[in-house]
């Protein structure tokens, strides 16, 4: 199939992300990759749980003294909402509405940036208190887990913005539709991981 075929809303396939063999492979492959990421994050989570609140004798930092619910709540709301906005983007992608898709992805980016900003503020705040990466086993495990998630957010932001800029002038076709779809899948997965981070790290941390 010629990837440069021009479409109208009437000829645009129902599942443009899986209309070509490359698209099918990409979507299946990306899901399989996400299954691998589940295990990757599980290793980090399990290690965090094993090392939670562990440190050198007389360590002053615990999850209860460190974490604050309002900040975690704000971050959660930002990321959850960005998940919905990327659903909107894919909705418009399937309707062959390029402008609306770009707009919704743009909103997703802004929300993601907001989340990242709050996370950087949080880390800065902790480091300022003396809770640095090499302070204890707990701090190393905490920064590794939440930092790996933050790294994924950063990658997602770079990825989605690269796609938006690259395709800004040429609109949708069957070559880039799977790319947008897969980037959205990645963004949802980041949200899935965050659901567990706010539950297991922050909420269960505040309880103790």
């Amino acid at each position: 199939m010629d990837f440069n075929t021009k479409f109208t809303p009437h000829t645009w396939p129902d599942h443009p992300e899986q209309a070509t063999m490359e698209g099918k492979n990409k979507v299946v492959g990306f899901w399989i990759f996400l299954a691998c990421e589940v295990v990757l994050f599980a290793s980090l989570f399990a290690t965090y749980l094993a090392l939670k609140n562990k440190g050198p004798a007389g360590m002053e930092f615990t999850t209860q003294s460190l974490f604050e619910l309002p900040l975690a709540f704000a971050m959660t709301m930002l990321l959850l909402t960005s998940s919905l906005t990327s659903v909107y983007a894919i909705y418009h992608m399937r309707n062959f509405n390029f402008k609306a898709m770009q707009t919704w992805f743009g909103i997703t980016l802004l929300l993601g940036l907001g989340f990242l900003g709050l996370e950087i503020y949080e880390f800065y705040h902790y480091v300022h208190k003396g809770f640095t990466f090499d302070q204890s086993a707990f701090s190393t495990a905490f920064y590794s887990l939440v930092g790996t998630h933050g790294f994924h957010v950063t990658l997602g932001l770079v990825w989605i913005s690269t796609l938006m800029i690259r395709n800004a002038k040429r609109g949708l076709n069957l070559y880039n539709a799977p790319k947008f779809f897969v980037a959205a899948l990645y963004w949802h997965f980041i949200d899935v991981v965050w659901v567990f981070i706010f539950t297991v790290v922050y909420l269960m941390g505040v309880i103790g």
Binding site: M1, M21, I32, F45, A46, T47, H188, F198, T199
Partner: protein
């Protein structure tokens, strides 16, 4: 054009309008799911803020997180869509990953101590 590609056909106006409507209905369902997720998040934060018993909070917020994840996977990530290519195989791999992940948690919480 290989045998793996979907042929391009122009839809009739009626078909087009039907598909558009179908997509719009589907999108409304997504918004409802989003509302459920936000609601669950509120409950999770509320029970923690209200400082109930640990034995109520832990299972409850873990359950809420689990439901949220299933909603994300099947609704937001379109896994429930029957037209997803090899959706069953994808689901199998995801659940396999989740099962293996569960054994990590079990092991790291029970047989790592001191």
């Amino acid at each position: 054009m290989s045998s793996h590609d979907t042929p391009i056909v122009a839809k009739s106006q009626a078909q087009y309008e039907y598909d558009r409507h179908h997509n719009a209905v589907h999108m409304r369902k997504q918004v409802v799911n989003f509302a459920i997720m936000i609601f669950f998040t509120f409950i999770a934060f509320a029970v923690v803020a209200a400082d109930f018993s640990k034995y109520l909070i832990f299972p409850l917020i873990l359950l809420l997180a689990g439901v949220q994840v299933v909603l994300q996977l099947y609704s937001f990530m379109h896994l429930e869509d029957k037209k997803t290519h090899f959706g069953g195989v994808i689901g199998f791999f995801m659940w396999m990953g989740i099962l293996i992940a569960f054994t990590f948690f079990l092991a790291f919480l029970t047989i790592i101590w001191w």
